[in-house]
């Protein structure tokens, strides 16, 4: 399943990039991220509690930064497994310099397995909602000041 969207972050591109490049800052804005432990260069072990309402699971898995082209392009690959199945996703962020603010074009390719496939009809909506939460959080951090 492919989803995409655009967002505007209210800070110059360099500051946005700096924030994205800080794994802990990234982790703190990722919905449900409970642990992020580096295991190698650009590789992390992650524990996420993702989902919505009652449909929530704890996923253990890996997060890998697969592309980093400062200050324009950033790609991550995530895979996680829980009792309900697995999620694999590739996400790409592209930053566009708009002076005092930054345009973000994002896209994701999501693949699920196990019982999660039964909810496939809702996954794009859920993914967009979670992405929205992620960017809101980033924007809040940017506006709070310190990158």
């Amino acid at each position: 399943m492919r989803i995409e969207g655009t967002e505007t972050l209210h800070a110059p591109r360099d500051r946005v990039w700096a924030l994205l490049d800080d794994p802990q800052a990234l982790a703190s804005c990722t919905p449900g991220m409970q642990e992020l432990r580096p295991t190698g260069p650009d590789e992390f072990e992650a524990v996420l509690s993702i989902g919505i309402a009652a449909v929530r699971g704890t996923y253990k898995g890996k997060l890998r930064i697969t592309e980093r082209t400062p200050p324009e392009r950033y790609a991550v690959q995530v895979e996680g497994t829980s009792g309900a199945g697995f999620v694999r996703a590739v996400g790409v962020l592209e930053l566009e310099d708009q002076g005092a603010q930054t345009g973000v074009r994002w896209s994701g390719e999501v693949q699920v397995g196990g019982a999660l496939t039964l909810g496939s009809r809702m996954i794009p909506g859920i993914a967009r909602m979670l992405a929205g939460q992620f960017f809101q959080c980033l924007d809040r951090k940017l506006q709070e000041g310190s990158p």
Partner: protein, 295 residues
């Protein structure tokens, strides 16, 4: 398909129930009719630590009309909306929409408030609630608040309810004079989630549409009310022109996701087709003053 271990609580009063919710927060999940929660439990997609069964709370079992509002307590089964003749008179849209919810066996157990709180974007009752401007009553230890339906649904399966809040009642405004209502949906099989569903209301006076309501199920992440389409309808003096404009507006504005059953394009097409059909039906009911759902 057996659920993982959970703790089970069955409070006998609203106060006890909200105490449990306050203690457990997001780890708790309310069980009413169980028509969505129990499958989710058995699939292990839902893993609450505590299931709070509200079926013992007799105080929530009421369906009454009071100063222009139909009040539906949290334990009222969906079937009662179609069985009790008054609903057809007071909130005819509700009586019509509920018949598209699953099958009689499901409606015998499923509750009205449960369907609203579950907030499936393709479900019928949330769209009906948005169309008529229902208000949802949330109860927590810190008090009671009313949430307008349009603010209640915030995402797929997501509502404005806080984890410590219990949805105790849904209030539907009784239909005004000169209004006609209709609910239509397309699903491949009767009783399935709608590929697209439309709730429509029309207020007719002097042979013209004075006011309108249009809300959609299965056309976005939440039930959508489409004010542009309502305006398009009212603006046109000619009814058929207005209907065409409203349908075109629905096709233009709505951006539903595609899934295995229907592409985004097909859903938008259905939204337009159903907009026109539902408006004509609502109009015919408004202009014959019968107002509502015909059995």
């Amino acid at each position: 398909m057996k659920p993982p271990v959970f703790d089970y609580q069955d409070p006998a009063s609203v106060e006890e129930a909200v105490d449990v919710l306050a203690r457990h927060g997001a780890a708790a999940k309310v069980l009413a009719g169980g028509q969505s929660l129990v499958p989710l439990l058995n699939l292990r997609l839902a893993r609450p630590e505590v299931v709070v069964d509200i079926n013992r709370i007799d105080a929530l079992d009421y369906l009454t009309e009071e100063s222009g509002w139909l009040r539906v307590g949290a334990r009222v089964r969906q079937r009662r909306l179609e069985r009790e003749g008054d609903v057809r008179r007071t909130v005819p849209l509700l009586a019509e929409a509920v018949r598209f919810v699953g099958h009689p066996q499901i409606r015998n157990r499923g509750t009205v408030c449960g369907s609203l709180a579950h907030a499936d974007p393709a479900a019928e009752l949330p769209a009906a609630a948005v169309a008529v401007g229902a208000r949802l009553v949330a109860h927590s230890r810190s008090g009671i608040r009313e949430i307008p339906a349009e603010e209640f649904f915030t995402g797929p399966l997501t509502t404005a309810l806080r984890p410590d809040e219990l949805l105790v009642e849904a209030r539907f405004p009784c239909t005004g004079p000169d209004w006609g209502w209709a609910f239509l949906e397309v699903s491949n099989r009767h009783g399935d989630y709608a590929l697209c569903g439309v709730a429509a209301g029309v207020r007719a006076r002097d042979g013209r549409v004075q006011d309108a309501r249009l809300a959609y199920a299965g056309a976005g992440p939440v039930p959508v009310r489409l004010r542009q389409a309502e305006v398009a309808l009212v603006e046109h003096a000619d009814l058929e022109e207005g209907i065409r404009a409203a349908a075109a507006e629905a096709r233009r504005v709505l951006r539903p996701d595609g899934d295995l059953h229907a592409s985004s394009e097909f859903r938008r097409h259905l939204a337009a087709v159903l907009t026109a059909r539902a408006l004509r039906l609502a109009w015919s009911r408004a202009s014959t003053c019968s107002g509502g759902a015909h059995a």
